[in-house]
C-alpha cells in the first residue's frame, strides 16, 4: 500500500492478509485515474446527465420563518435514486470499469446505497450482488424491490444483529473468495484504506457546489453547515469543501435512537470508544471487552456502530462538532418540514433538520445555515405511518 490511510490516529487498513492485494490494486487504480482527464470528463458527464448534478441550493422560506434564521437546503434528495449515494457509486463504478472488473458487490442499510449500486450495475452491465441485513430487508422493502428490478441479487444476511454491520461482514467475507473479478463498492467513508479517501473524493462535489452556490446566491459563506452522520459520507462530502473556511461551523448529527442514556442508539462519536472494526480505527460502540454492541435507530441508514475515521479526527481537533438527536425529534421534524416545504426528507437527513429545529429562535436572524438533505423520504413513509399514523 502506498499510503497508510491515516487521519491522525484513526483509519488504516486492519484487514486479513488475503484482502491486502485487492486494496492495493484499488488504491493504485484510484491514484492513477482520479485526476485523469478522460476519467474526470466521463464522470462529470454521468454526474450531470445521469445523476442530475448540480443539485439546487434551495432557500427554505417557510422553514426559515419558523426557526427564525436562514436555512438553505442542499437538494441531494433530487438526485437519481433519491440520495447522495449515486455520487459515490458512479465514481467507484467507473473506477471498477477502468480496472476491468465485471462484478460489483455492496452492503446496504437503508437500501439507498444498494439501490445506487444496482443502478450503476445496470448502467455498466455489471453483475451485482447486494448484502443487506434481514431486518433492513424487512423495513426497507421498497428499495429491495427496486434493486431487484435493476437486476441485482439481494442477499438477506441473517447473522449477528441483522443490520448494516452484518451486511458489511458478509460482503467482506464474500469478497475474500472472489477478489479477482469482483469490485467491492463500499458505501461510506468507513472501512479500510483506501475507501475513506475514495468515497470522500467522490462525495466532495456536494460541498464544492454548495460553497459556490452560497457565494453566488448570498454573496458570502454560510455560518453553519450541517449533515447527518451514519458512516459519514454525505457529511464529509459537504464538510470537506468548507474545512479550510475557519468561520464556517460544521455540525454533524448522529442518531441518538431512544436516547444516549438508554444505550439504544447508534452514536459512536457521542458515546463510543476508539476501537477497530471493518478495517479501520474509529470511535466505536462496544462493551468493556471490545465486543461490538447492538445499535438502534429509526433510520436504517444511520444504524451502524462505527463512524468514518476522518470524522473522528475532526471531532478530536474540534474542527467539527457532533451532536445527536433522538428518534422522536426525527419523527416530529419529518412532519413539520414536510408540511412547511412540501419536501419529504429521508429519516437520515431528518436528523440534521431536527438539530436545526432545536436551534429555533436561538440564533441571530441573519444566521445562514446550510443543511445537506442527503436523501428523500419516500422510502420511509411506511415507517413514519407506523409510528405516527395520519388521521
Amino acid at each position: 500500500m502506498k499510503d497508510k490511510g491515516r487521519f491522525g490516529q484513526f483509519g488504516g487498513f486492519y484487514v486479513p492478509e488475503v484482502l491486502i492485494p485487492a486494496l492495493e490494486e484499488m488504491e493504485e487504480a484510484f491514484y492513477q485515474y482520479y485526476k485523469d482527464d478522460k476519467f474526470v470528463a466521463e464522470l462529470n458527464t454521468l454526474y450531470c446527465d445521469y445523476a442530475g448534478r448540480p443539485t439546487p441550493l434551495y432557500y427554505a422560506t417557510r422553514f426559515s420563518e419558523l426557526v427564525g434564521f436562514k436555512v438553505y437546503i442542499k437538494r441531494e434528495d433530487l438526485l437519481h435514486g433519491g440520495a447522495h449515494k449515486v455520487n459515490n457509486c458512479l465514481g467507484q463504478g467507473l473506477l471498477a470499469k477502468y480496472m476491468g472488473k465485471t462484478k460489483l458487490i455492496a452492503e446496504t442499510g437503508a437500501g439507498q446505497h444498494g439501490l445506487a449500486t444496482s443502478m450503476i450495475g445496470a448502467l455498466f452491465g455489471m453483475q451485482t450482488k447486494i448484502f443487506m441485513g434481514a431486518i433492513d430487508v424487512d423495513r426497507q422493502s421498497v428499495n429491495v424491490h427496486k434493486m431487484r428490478l435493476c437486476g441485482a441479487e439481494v442477499i438477506s444476511v441473517s447473522g449477528g444483529t441483522r443490520t448494516l454491520k452484518d451486511a458489511i461482514n458478509e460482503a467482506l467475507r464474500y469478497w475474500t473468495s472472489n477478489i479477482s473479478d469482483t469490485f467491492y463498492l463500499f458505501g461510506t467513508v468507513c472501512g479500510p484504506h483506501p475507501y475513506p479517501t475514495i468515497v470522500k473524493h467522490f462525495q466532495t462535489c456536494i460541498g464544492t457546489e454548495a460553497r459556490r452556490q452560497c457565494l453566488e446566491k448570498i454573496g458570502r459563506l454560510p455560518d453553519i453547515v450541517t449533515a447527518c452522520v451514519g458512516g459519514g459520507s454525505n457529511a464529509i462530502g459537504i464538510f470537506n469543501a468548507f474545512v479550510e473556511d475557519k468561520t464556517v461551523k460544521l455540525i454533524g448529527v448522529e442518531p441518538a435512537g431512544r436516547g444516549i442514556a438508554t444505550g439504544k442508539h447508534a452514536a459512536p462519536l457521542s458515546a463510543g470508544r476508539v476501537g477497530i472494526l471493518h478495517g479501520t480505527k474509529m470511535y466505536l460502540m462496544q462493551d468493556g471487552d471490545g465486543q461490538i454492541l447492538d445499535t438502534e435507530s429509526i433510520s436504517a441508514g444511520l444504524d451502524y456502530p462505527g463512524v468514518g475515521p476522518e470524522h473522528c479526527l475532526l471531532k478530536d481537533t474540534k474542527r467539527a462538532e457532533y451532536v445527536a438527536v433522538e428518534d422522536e425529534a426525527v419523527l416530529d421534524i419529518f412532519d413539520i418540514f414536510t408540511k412547511c416545504e412540501g419536501i419529504l426528507p429521508a429519516l437520515e437527513s431528518s436528523h440534521s433538520l431536527a438539530w436545526v429545529y432545536s436551534q429555533r429562535n436561538k440564533l441571530p436572524a441573519d444566521t445562514v445555515v446550510v443543511v445537506n438533505l442527503s436523501g428523500r423520504g419516500d422510502k420511509d413513509v411506511g415507517i413514519v405511518e407506523k409510528n405516527r399514523p395520519v388521521k
Binding site: Y14, P16, V18, P21, R173, I179, G275, I276
Partner: protein, 262 residues
C-alpha cells in the same frame, strides 16, 4: 514452557494443530474437549477468543463464537481457560484473534498477561504485516513468538518480509476465502508451500479448509510442517449440541484418525 521450536524439532511428521473457540459450547465442555484433543495426539493448540464480528470466518466458526459468547465467555475467563489447559499439559498454544479485543485490553498488557497464562503466540486475523509495529515490541517484551498469515495471493517479496517477522511459524492460508470445511484442497496450496519453502526455514503450517485425513496427508507430503484443522472439528461440536457429553470422545476419535494418517 514448551516452545514451538522444541515441538517442531521433536516431531518426525507434520504437527497436528486443532483449532477451538474457547468456551464453545460452554466453559466446562470446552475444557473437556480440548483435554481430549490433547490426549488424542494434538501437538499444538490453536485457540480463538470469540469476537462478535469475525470477518475472516465462515458460518461454522461464526456460530461457535456466538455459542461461546452466549455461554458467558469473556477475556478473563479465556485466560483462566488457558491456565487450566497448561496445568493439564505443557503444550504450545497459539491464540487466533481479532484486533479489537486486544486493543481494548491494552496491547502490551494483553501480550504480557496471556504470556503469563501460558500462550506461545498471538496471531491477529485483521492485522497485517504493514502494522506489525503495533504488536512486535509487546510480543518481544512478553517473550512470545510471532505468527503472521500468508495467503495464496501474497506476492513473494511480501511473503519474504512476512516470513522474516515470524518466529513461531507461518500461518499459511490454503485458499482465497474464509474459514470453513471444504471437500477438496485448493489447488493453490501446493505451489504456495513450495514457494514458502524456497524462501524461508520458518515452519509452514497450513489452515483454512483442511477437513479430512486425506487433506492432512496431501499437505504433509507437499512439505507442510503442520496442519491446522478448525471448522471440521468445530462442526463436530455443532452437530452434537444435544448430547454435549459425547463431544470430547467424538473429537478425540477424529483427531486420532488424522494423527494416524499423517
Amino acid at each position: 514452557m514448551k516452545t514451538y521450536k522444541q515441538t517442531f524439532a521433536e516431531l518426525k511428521q507434520a504437527a497436528l494443530i486443532p483449532f477451538f473457540v474457547i468456551g464453545d459450547p460452554d466453559f466446562d465442555t470446552s475444557l473437556a474437549i480440548v483435554k481430549a484433543a490433547i490426549d488424542a495426539g494434538a501437538d499444538i493448540l490453536e485457540l480463538g477468543i470469540a469476537f462478535s464480528d469475525p470477518i475472516a470466518d465462515g458460518p461454522t466458526i461464526q456460530k461457535a463464537d456466538i455459542r461461546a459468547i452466549d455461554a458467558g465467555m469473556n477475556i478473563q475467563k479465556a485466560k483462566d481457560f488457558i491456565k487450566k489447559i497448561k496445568a493439564y499439559k505443557d503444550i504450545p498454544i497459539g491464540l487466533l484473534m481479532y484486533y479489537n479485543l486486544i486493543y481494548q485490553y491494552g496491547t502490551e498488557k494483553f501480550f504480557a498477561d496471556f504470556a503469563a497464562a501460558g500462550v506461545n503466540s498471538v496471531l491477529i486475523a485483521d492485522l497485517s504485516i504493514d502494522d506489525a509495529d503495533e504488536v512486535l515490541a509487546p510480543a518481544q517484551k512478553a517473550g512470545l513468538d510471532t505468527v503472521f498469515m500468508v495467503t495464496p495471493n501474497t506476492e513473494t517479496e511480501r511473503a519474504k518480509r512476512i516470513a522474516e517477522k515470524c518466529t513461531g511459524f507461518i500461518y499459511t492460508v490454503s485458499l482465497l476465502g474464509v474459514t470453513g470445511g471444504r471437500d477438496q484442497l485448493s489447488d493453490m496450496i501446493k505451489p504456495l508451500i513450495t514457494r514458502l519453502k524456497s524462501i524461508t526455514d520458518v515452519p509452514v503450517c497450513v489452515g483454512f479448509g483442511v477437513s479430512t485425513p486425506k487433506h492432512a496427508v496431501q499437505l504433509a507430503q507437499a512439505g507442510a510442517d503442520g496442519v491446522i484443522i478448525g471448522s471440521r472439528i468445530v462442526k463436530i461440536i455443532e452437530d452434537n449440541l444435544n448430547d454435549k457429553k459425547s463431544i470430547p470422545a467424538k473429537v478425540a476419535e477424529f483427531i486420532k484418525e488424522i494423527k494416524k494418517a499423517i
